[in-house]
Symmetry: C2
């Protein structure tokens, strides 16, 4: 063990990967506010604000809307452990990494998984989604609204309609969509949606927003078996955070301060403005990518604006490009993984990080790194993005 430890001195990164995304100074400052106890009335004022602000961004009137004291993955496990019983059947729309993770969690609960498969980056059309659910007649259906591993958006309305026809509940992963693009929980008919704090909401990681429809709450109250998890048991979390304010665990107070501040920033910007900003910056980036002669992995119309997956051109080493951008410009982007390893980059232009300035910096750095690695771009990416901004 060292005798002395150097002061914390993290490098300054421009976080343009799939998340965490850049955090605004106001949010960091919120974490310096003095903590109160986990049963202090002030803490419940904060959780009350977090609830109403999350309702807005989830697009829901669900009373049962809260933040779980863990990261996005704990949000996924909250959804699965509370709503999937041993022996039940779960339909999973499988077109990326996070669908696989849901499948694994379902199996760990001792439940059966039925999967409809597609290559990573594709999505399901209404008819095939509907047929799958009506054929399988599951108890639960799960889909990933915004696939962080591929950059594709899966719309949920047809899935929810078919699921409800067979009496199933619908779980939606909104980890990369919440605060970045409309989630519309109520309009789509989603029963359980979970997310994270560190992508569209631009807060540090550490909390998992979750919302539960009255139909799912009703199911939970009737559930005969016990959740294997005490920590993530929504019946107990309801009693702590939402209703009776009865002790369950010591919530991470500073993280709740940060999440409230981040949500207030979203509220102040206005959801429509925020979504428009993120779409516009995505389009400017895509214009730059195409000008360089690169191709986006996901077809137009199914793209997840905050998470861009340009394809790695023939002969270029994706990791070397990333390393150059990190080391020379302090810009973090990530690579693909699973079937997309070495084939795409994953570039986040999301939350507070989705700005014209960042798009231009990013394109410039990206092009420089590509050229250093031997790629000959068709044109100038930054200039194409500037031209897009000038006319849009």
């Amino acid at each position: 063990m060292p005798e002395t430890y150097a002061p914390l001195n993290p490098p300054r990164r421009l976080l343009m990967g799939p998340g965490p995304s850049p955090v605004e100074p106001r949010v960091y400052q919120a974490m310096t506010k003095p903590i109160v106890g986990h049963l202090d009335p002030y803490f419940f004022e904060v959780t009350g604000d977090v609830r109403s602000l999350l309702q807005e961004v989830f697009g829901t009137a669900n009373e049962f809307t809260l933040a779980i004291s863990g990261t996005g993955t704990s949000g996924m496990e909250t959804a699965v452990s509370n709503f999937v019983e041993s022996g039940s059947k779960v339909c999973v729309f499988a077109n990326g990494y996070f669908c696989d993770r849901i499948s694994e969690m379902v199996r760990r609960q001792g439940a059966e998984v039925a999967r409809l498969e597609k290559p990573w980056g594709e999505t399901f059309v209404d008819e095939e989604a509907r047929k799958f659910i009506l054929d399988e007649k599951p108890q639960v259906v799960a889909f990933v609204h915004a696939e962080t591993s591929t950059g594709a958006v899966q719309e949920g309305k047809a899935i929810c309609e078919a699921a409800h026809e067979v009496g199933a509940l619908v779980i939606a992963d909104t980890v990369t969509s919440l605060g970045n693009i409309p989630v519309n929980v109520d309009a789509a008919g989603i029963d359980i949606a979970y997310s994270c704090s560190q992508k569209g909401l631009a807060c540090p990681p550490g909390l998992a927003p979750v919302t539960v429809s009255p139909r799912a709450v009703e199911w939970l109250r009737r559930r005969g078996t016990m959740n294997r998890s005490f920590y993530l048991d929504l019946k107990l979390l309801d009693e702590y955070l939402l209703s009776a304010h009865k002790y369950h665990h010591t919530a991470p107070i500073s993280m709740f301060y940060a999440l409230r501040e981040a949500l207030v920033i979203v509220h102040e910007e206005g959801l429509e403005n925020r979504f428009r900003r993120i779409e516009r910056n995505h389009k400017a980036f895509a214009a730059g990518i195409e000008a360089m002669g690169l191709r986006m992995h996901v077809e137009e119309g199914r793209r997840l604006y905050p998470l861009n997956t340009p394809c790695v051109p023939e002969g270029v080493d994706d990791a070397k490009v990333r390393a150059r951008m990190l080391n020379e410009d302090g810009i973090e982007i990530l690579g693909g993984f699973g079937p997309l390893a070495g084939k795409v980059w994953r570039i986040g232009i999301m939350g507070a990080g989705s700005t014209k300035e960042n798009v231009l910096l990013l394109l410039e750095s990206f092009q420089r790194a590509l050229e250093a690695e031997g790629y000959r771009p068709a044109g100038n990416g930054r200039q194409a993005a500037e031209a897009f901004y000038a006319q849009a």
Copy 2:
């Protein structure tokens, strides 16, 4: 939903309850440092420091020492879900609330609980602990080293010896001991210990330190069944935080910064100095309590120095005393619960909050509130504590 949200403005509390305890400015400042990605080499430097600093405070050479991305309760669930299989038998030493919580988690795993019961505030002597374990021959033994609900310390050495004789692993709850009193994981022979960030370590809540002995790691590698929890699966967490640095979840970076800073403060003070400080302030407080004619619930010799449980005197309403202290002096103490509801207060003099100044403030405020609620103290608590400090 309100149109505008007021800026965060938490009341300033002197946190003298069972935790969270007061946080030093350096720790709050650590959370304002810019986050890096959850797979950034700098993040793994931080987790490396957290590991070596936790080894010191746990009193262990265990390589498998890390912080779980959740609160203390997630630490308990990590211990139980990883080491208790469905169908196995767990011996629980049951003398307070947190033993009950462990029992509940064990049952949720589908395992059998054998309990040796004592009234809340009492502890188990070596002979009876030993007999219980040898009679029951369990796969796992669990005890609470520092019972936050009662203020009693349960020593673990005899429990661990007997457990190892029958081939059982030992889980210890060190939530209120870590950083406050010696835990001595290796010397006691504890296999799995878990704790929290917000008590003896004086960090905000949000992380759960956990350490696992080589014997328990070996057991885990051979475990045939799957942990029901993906989020708390130590095999996966090892690959993320300790060994391969492979993605598992997005760790709460800012909380890790805070925990590292809090642990560096502990390291700088020195464990022996810290433990001596906390013992001394406990003794000064106890002198004050006795001078007022009050009684401590736990016998001398078994008392948990950081968590004091003076008995509520006949005819006094414990909640009214607490409310006065909170409203008039901004000091938070908590009441008892379960069998100790209305019978004791729970007063934390722990972590960074264990100072002479706080003890004197606390005794003064406590005495004033008691008198306002009709109690006639035998003498002056603050003066007795001052006399103790003058001679000690």
